[in-house]
């Protein structure tokens, strides 16, 4: 029979191992450490077509991730999609005429929003809306247009 002091020590090692594993999961494997600046402000944008954009897709500025898409809904007045995105609060210098485009990473990768700063002096604040948008490129549409231009030639 193992003595009860030894049992206590072994159980202690077991619990410490478990907690260490959990901390490793939190800091090293998942993106908790990069979410430290979770505080941010919300900006909306209207799109004609969002393609395959999903909530939690990234929002980039020259390729640097500056926020996440938080909500996707449909506006029944303008018949367009409304994207709500949360931008990190340290990105507080984006002009109001910033353009938002939906791009695909790689040929078949996931879709994300790319922001291109404009030239206005007014900056985007919590609740403001991006008016200049460019929809996602839907592959079938492109192929359809190509087909039309090929057939009208002859």
């Amino acid at each position: 029979m193992v003595s009860s002091r030894k049992i206590e020590i072994l159980v202690g090692i077991f619990v410490v191992l478990g907690l260490t594993a959990f901390i490793i999961m939190a800091l090293n494997i998942s993106n908790l450490s990069s979410l430290s600046s979770a505080k941010g402000y919300n900006v909306t944008a209207h799109f004609e077509n969002i393609g395959g954009l999903r909530p939690r897709a990234k929002v980039t500025l020259s390729g640097v991730v500056v926020g996440r898409v938080t909500k996707i809904s449909y506006d029944k007045e303008s018949f367009r999609a409304i994207i709500t995105m949360t931008l990190n609060s340290d990105i507080d210098y984006l002009p109001e005429d910033t353009q938002a485009s939906i791009y695909t990473s790689g040929l078949l990768g996931e879709q994300y929003i790319s922001l291109e700063p404009g030239a206005e002096d007014e900056v985007l604040k919590n609740g403001s809306s991006i008016t200049l948008t460019q929809s996602a490129v839907v592959l079938e549409e492109v192929i359809g247009k190509l087909m039309v231009s090929f057939t009208t030639k002859d």
Binding site: S4, V11, A21, M25, I29, S30, N31, S34, L35
Partner: protein
Amino acid sequence: MMLNWFQHIGAFTFDILANTGRASIFLLQVILGIKETLFRPQLLIRELYSVGVLSLLIIIFSAIFVGMVLSLLGYVTLVDFGAESSLGVLVSLSLIRELGPVLTALLFSGRAGSALTAEIGLMKATEQLASMEMMAVDPIRRIITPRFLAGCISLPLLTVIFMSLGIYAGYLVGSIWLGVDEGSFWSQMQSKVEFGHDVINGFIKSIVFGFVVTWIAVYQGYNAIPTSEGVSRATTNSVVYSALAVLALDFILTAVMFV
């Protein structure tokens, strides 16, 4: 003949209902004893040792081999598409979402659940539980609750150990043996694995599995027919029912969490 057949179905249905009821009442009694167990941590620590610490070895070994095999097979598939930099995502997401909780629960039911059932069943067969009752000691609070609580605590801990060890084993095979770029392995993993979504949900899965597996194990032991054959049947049932419950619950939980 026909009537006999219907009688069988009826008896079978009532058996199932009675078993469900008995198991639920038993669970309630066990849970009511938790407060007293917490006042006597010595009992709980002894059970944590036999349920958790002794399962550690099999969990560590399985985690290392599962992580290595995932990495190896994932590499073979992904390299055809030039996408081997996503190997870290593949290994970590499959371990965190599915394989970690499920495999740990299955191994746990084989290693610790069967031992719990056999131990409690033998106590019943040798009338130790009855003699405790004679001495006005509630066997559920003295014997069952500490074991139940130890199982519920151990399995989530074992699961996170399984997940992180598996991911490191996958990293060793993928990065050092197969030559996947170390930086893209970790950075892609970190950008795709979300703590609040993937890790927490995997952890919730393991809590549910720990609860169910230990419940089945202690109930089967407590409810065993007090003969050597009865104890052996209870042990078999404990492992079989645990495996079925874990796999079925995993489907439901995955459908709720990740779809």
